[in-house]
């Protein structure tokens, strides 16, 4: 019986955060620090024809103005090698290397000054002449081409077109999801400091090792010379995973001025320069039999990629990608086409692909249910799959039925009227909606070090990240569990390239990657402690076997005699050492590497297990909305979120994640949209007054449940990530509830008041 794992342990970093002692990247200082502020391109396509920095250079406090004329030449990124080492590339565009402009607000110069205010002011004084060409910005009108991304390759199973054409019941609709931006509370920020050929960077990043690797490449120094630290991260949602131009820009500014340099982006820059969720236009074709069995499913997505010269690593919103795993279906087509637009590159945003993809698919399923007069939950049960319909692999662990059935029961789904417009509450029409949630169960190789100190404390070190999600806490719980030490004796250090390499925080993979790794390191340490203890002849363990001992109460104890044992302190004292440690590298199949503490190559999802099993988390979202039809106002009245994410490591932090996910989904459904000006290709939504994230008044009571069924095929502890799946399925459940309330089907998110008129 687990003592710590799964328990609703309070965040171990909670006190630090609420007392302001948790230091975020921008909160560090160096003596002699200078400040950088980028100059942004006014145009979205063309070239810098002339740049005059004379006035800016003379402005008070300015140390230098970097432009393409005097910028350091950076070494281009070696794409193949970088992908192998687990870096997330995207926009292959190093700053200030030439005059070309691919999107509005691209960095075209950079001021470095004594103070932030001076740098920001001087940025205004740089005069730029442009050679402008007409930008491509209209997703609907621009020609669509194939993406270079291997993940966007078309998938055909069976004969989807024929099967659709001959299906007795057909749904054929177009669904759209607007461009969204991440807008975490903490903007991208970093401090870069060179000491000779060594670079140290405090960086709000989701991937310290990825950042290190790419910085080392661009500055042409060995990667051992670069240290990246991201101890605390104020939210990210994907925007801090790719390598953006800000990172080399800070490194360059520091190198040129020979001063530590801080750079913190403004909110408009967060909109313009740090990626976005590309808009999608999705055509969904569902063909079904009269009793509701899907016979064909075609999902054709049109989206955008950045119109760069070098498209090798382009990123697109893969709306049809993993959504293909949602239902059993013999005939499937998944197609993605992209328009090349003059935009800052799309980048992963919480459940990239799945969130908008399920908006389309799950809205279409609701349309099908209505057409067939089958209850929406029932329709999903009819099409329940035990294996991935594309690769035919069985799911490693799937308890989605529980989510549908228990979720429906707890929500009171049976009270739903199948015909729309049946329930009124004053001015409000009330409706229920539901949708399936889904996200893959990714894992990566990882290394972690665990050390027992003679004072009874334990240090755990791994360069995974805590984006605010609770990694510190679940790592401490795991070490506490396997070392038999209370959580408050465990000191966790994360997200520093001086620590053993772990995974980039993306794809909800941190828990499934790190937790088994900590477990393995603790196991190794148990052996080591036992060996150490038995070296001493007078030990209570002499003549005993490792299988006879267990770790608890801060020491090694005999299983047979609970009183007999030795504390870590005693063992270490007897051995005359201060501490004992193990560093262990684990790959996704659970094997330990024979190179401890070293992750050489990170083969993305390609490991032997993924040829045996299909790893996915599933869930169901149930929503009640009220709609004031007269003025087009939607209020989500309650949400019930029920997920199957393997073992839940911490009920409290998992539940908080689910709250955040549901709120994220409400944003997609009702409020969040970034608009581009159609001529200049500049965002017109540039701040949090124009880009509407949900506020408290938009958020109702949210009930959260997990199946808590460990997935031992995924990893020895059976935990899959929680962070992204919880954001999926919410938007379609809301759209479906709006239909149930009003009889109006709105196929464009966000569903703002104007869409009702």
């Amino acid at each position: 019986m687990a003592k710590f794992i799964g328990k609703p342990v309070d965040r171990v970093d909670g006190r630090l955060k609420v007392t302001g002692q948790a230091k975020y990247a921008a909160e560090y200082t160096h003596k002699n620090m200078a400040y950088a502020f980028p100059v942004l391109s006014k145009i979205a396509s063309g070239e810098v024809a002339a740049i005059d920095a004379a006035e800016a250079e003379k402005a008070p406090g300015v140390l230098t103005v970097l432009t393409h004329k005097n910028a350091l030449r950076l070494q281009p990124i070696d794409v193949d090698q970088s992908i192998k080492t687990g870096s997330l590339l995207g926009e292959l565009l190093l700053p200030l290397q030439d005059t070309k402009i691919f999107y509005a607000n691209q960095y075209i110069a950079c001021i470095v000054a004594e103070t932030y205010e001076q740098a920001r002011y001087a940025a205004l004084l740089v005069k730029v002449k442009y050679k402008e060409t007409k930008p491509a910005i209209d997703l609907e009108k621009e020609p669509k081409v194939d993406s270079t991304s291997p993940r966007a390759k078309q998938v055909i199973v069976g004969t989807p077109v024929e099967a659709f054409n001959s299906a007795p019941v057909k749904i054929e609709q177009v669904y759209k999801v607007a461009t969204e931006n991440h807008h975490p509370m903490e903007p991208h920020s970093l401090i870069a400091a060179w000491e000779g050929e060594k670079l140290t960077v405090y960086n709000a990043t989701q991937g310290v090792h990825s950042s290190r690797h790419l910085l080392a490449q661009t500055f042409n120094v060995p990667k051992e010379n670069v240290r990246v630290i991201a101890s605390f991260i104020g939210g990210a949602f994907g925007t801090k995973a790719m390598f953006w131009a800000t990172e080399p820009l800070a490194g360059m500014a520091a190198r040129v001025t020979k001063r530590p340099v801080k750079i913190v982006l403004t909110r408009p820059m967060m909109q313009h320069c740090t990626g976005n969720r590309g808009a999608t236009r999705q055509s969904v074709y569902l063909g079904a039999t009269r009793d509701g069995k899907l016979v064909s499913r075609r999902h054709i997505t049109e989206t955008c990629v950045a119109r760069l010269d070098d498209r090798r690593t382009e990123y697109l919103e893969l709306a049809g990608g993993n959504t293909s795993s949602t239902y059993a279906c013999p005939n499937i087509e998944i197609t993605h086409k992209v328009a090349l637009l003059n935009v800052n590159s799309p980048t992963p945003m919480r459940a990239p692909g799945e969130a908008p993809g399920l908006f389309a698919l799950e809205s279409a399923m609701d349309e099908l249910a209505f057409e067939l007069k089958i209850d929406p939950v029932q329709l999903r049960l009819i099409n329940y799959g035990e294996a991935n319909p594309i690769n035919k692999l069985p799911y490693s662990s799937k308890h989605l039925k529980e989510c549908y059935e228990q979720g429906a029961a707890k929500f009171g789904w049976s009270l739903r009227k199948s015909e729309p417009r049946q329930t009124r509450d004053g001015e409000w029409l009330v409706g229920y909606g539901m949708a399936t949630a889904l996200y893959p169960g990714y894992r990566s190789p990882s290394a972690a070090r665990v050390r027992v100190n003679s004072d009874g404390t334990v240090s755990v070190q791994t360069a995974a990240h805590d984006l605010g999600t609770g990694t510190y806490t679940i790592v401490a719980q795991t070490a506490a569990e396997f070392l038999g030490v209370p959580v408050n004796k465990i000191k966790v250090a994360l997200a520093d390239t001086d620590l053993p390499q772990s995974t980039l925080a993306g794809g909800s993979r941190t828990a499934a990657t790190v937790i088994p790794n900590i477990q393995a390191a603790c196991e190794a340490l148990r052996k080591k402690l036992f060996e150490l203890a038995t070296k001493n002849n007078s030990s209570v363990f002499s003549g005993k076997n490792i299988a006879d001992v267990e770790l608890r109460d801060g020491g090694l104890f005999l299983k047979s005699d609970t009183n007999k044992g030795e504390t870590f302190e005693t063992i270490l004292k007897a051995a005359k050492i201060d501490s004992v440690e193990e560093c262990v590298t684990v790959n996704p199949e659970g094997q330990k590497s024979n190179e401890p503490c070293f992750v050489s190559e990170i083969p993305a999802e390609q490991n032997a297990d993924t040829k045996k099993w299909d790893f996915h988390s599933f869930g169901a979202q149930f929503v009640e909305v009220g709609v004031n039809e007269q003025i087009g106002i939607v209020r989500v009245r309650r949400v019930l979120s029920y997920h199957d994410c393997g073992r839940i490591m911490n009920k409290k932090t998992a539940r908080s994640q689910a709250f955040g996910g549901v709120i994220f989904g409400i944003g997609m459904a009702l409020t969040e949209e970034s608009h581009y000006d159609p001529r200049s290709a500049r965002f017109v939504t540039r701040n949090l007054a124009d880009y509407h994230v949900p506020v408290n008044a938009d958020v109702p009571e949210i009930e959260v449940y997990f199946t808590n069924q460990p997935d031992y095929k995924n990893n020895p502890l059976g935990a899959r990530g929680v962070g992204e799946i919880v954001a999926t399925g919410v938007a379609p459940a809301i759209a479906n509830a709006i239909f149930n309330a009003t009889g109006k089907r709105i196929r464009e998110a966000p569903i703002t008041p104007d869409k009702f008129l």
Partner: protein, 330 residues
């Protein structure tokens, strides 16, 4: 940030004088709008004259109504018993705006003076006649979902975005200002803001250096039949897509007096004489409300992306009038 001079206003006269002598200076009250715009380089005063400490924050009874100090905070104004009891429409309008924190900083004078939320106005890389006369209007053929459907010109299609002023228009407020010569003058609220015409850089008819000192509200009989309805993209903390300040005085079942003011549809709060005419003397029924709504929006001229405001405006008027009749119940 651009360097600027900070001057503490010691009294009304010296504050006014300090601004009058410097074309590039501005009064600073709560700073919630001005400082934001300075950070974006939209406003570039070289001097701020801080009036926030002047003793102009009182709210008191007058012989014919109440008087509200220009420097009273929005929050304090909305929650003042005299306002809540006699002018609930004003309370509702203020409380529909911004957030609790902002309302505790923002002043009534600053609120009247707040600038448009046109996104092109905020982005100095975009053309905008209001920010830089002669550069063109970015929104006219750009994204104009939040822009005007009434009274716009081809020089500017921006709206006045505030909430409080819509109620003030319905309540026949009078703005008291102190001018360059030290004299006070009054401006009926209807004449305070202006349409863009050829000079969109001018939001209102205040002269440079004129200080708003107070707002007077005459007595009325609207208190138990008024409603402020704000339609927006999220439940709170967003500017209106369309808002309606509605007030009725009835005589049995007939309407004796009516006020209908639309917000966020024009460069100024849009009081609809047409709607009011369609209401007065008629029974307070849905049919009357619908007719008033039709009349109010008849002359609307929507742009490419704000056509929805015409229908939304009508429906919002009807709903606001219905709720006004119900004492606010939904």
């Amino acid at each position: 940030m651009r360097p600027f001079k900070y001057t503490e206003g010691k009294d009304e006269t010296s504050a006014v004088r300090a601004v009058v002598v410097n074309r590039e200076s501005k009064f600073l009250a709560g700073g919630t709008n001005l400082i934001d715009l300075m950070k974006e380089y939209v406003e570039r005063p070289n001097e701020l004259v801080d009036v926030s400490q002047l003793p102009l924050a009182q709210i008191k009874n007058t012989s014919n109504g109440i008087s509200i100090g220009a420097l009273a905070k929005n929050g304090a104004t909305a929650n003042h018993p005299l306002v809540r009891q006699n002018y609930p429409l004003l309370s509702m309008a203020i409380l529909a705006g911004a957030s609790g924190q902002l309302r505790n900083m923002a002043t009534n004078g600053g609120n009247l003076m707040q600038r448009t939320r046109c996104q092109y106005f905020y982005d100095i890389a975009m053309p905008c006649n209001k920010r830089e006369p002669g550069t063109g209007c970015g929104a006219l053929e750009g994204i104009n979902r939040i822009h005007a459907i009434f009274g716009w010109s081809d020089k500017c299609v921006a709206t006045y975005p505030g909430d409080m002023a819509n109620a003030l228009y319905a309540l026949d407020a009078v703005v008291r200002v102190k001018g360059a010569n030290g004299q006070e003058r009054t401006i009926p609220i209807q004449d305070f803001h202006r349409l863009p015409g050829n000079e969109p850089q001018k939001d209102n008819n205040l002269e440079h250096g004129e200080l708003i000192i107070g707002i007077d509200l005459p007595k009325n009989n609207f208190a138990n039949k008024s409603y402020y309805l704000k339609v927006r993209d999220r439940a709170s903390y967003a500017f209106a897509l369309v808002s309606v300040a509605a007030a009725l005085e009835t005589d049995g079942s007939n309407i004796r007096q009516a006020r209908v003011v639309l917000g966020s549809v024009a460069h100024k709060p849009w009081r609809s004489g047409e709607a009011e005419k369609a209401l007065v003397g008629k029974p307070a029924t849905d049919a009357t409300f619908n007719a008033a709504a039709e009349a109010a929006l008849k002359e609307a001229k929507p742009l490419a992306h704000n056509g929805y405001k015409v229908e939304l405006g009508k429906r919002a008027i009807v709903l606001a009038l219905q709720r006004a009749m119900n004492g606010g119940a939904e």
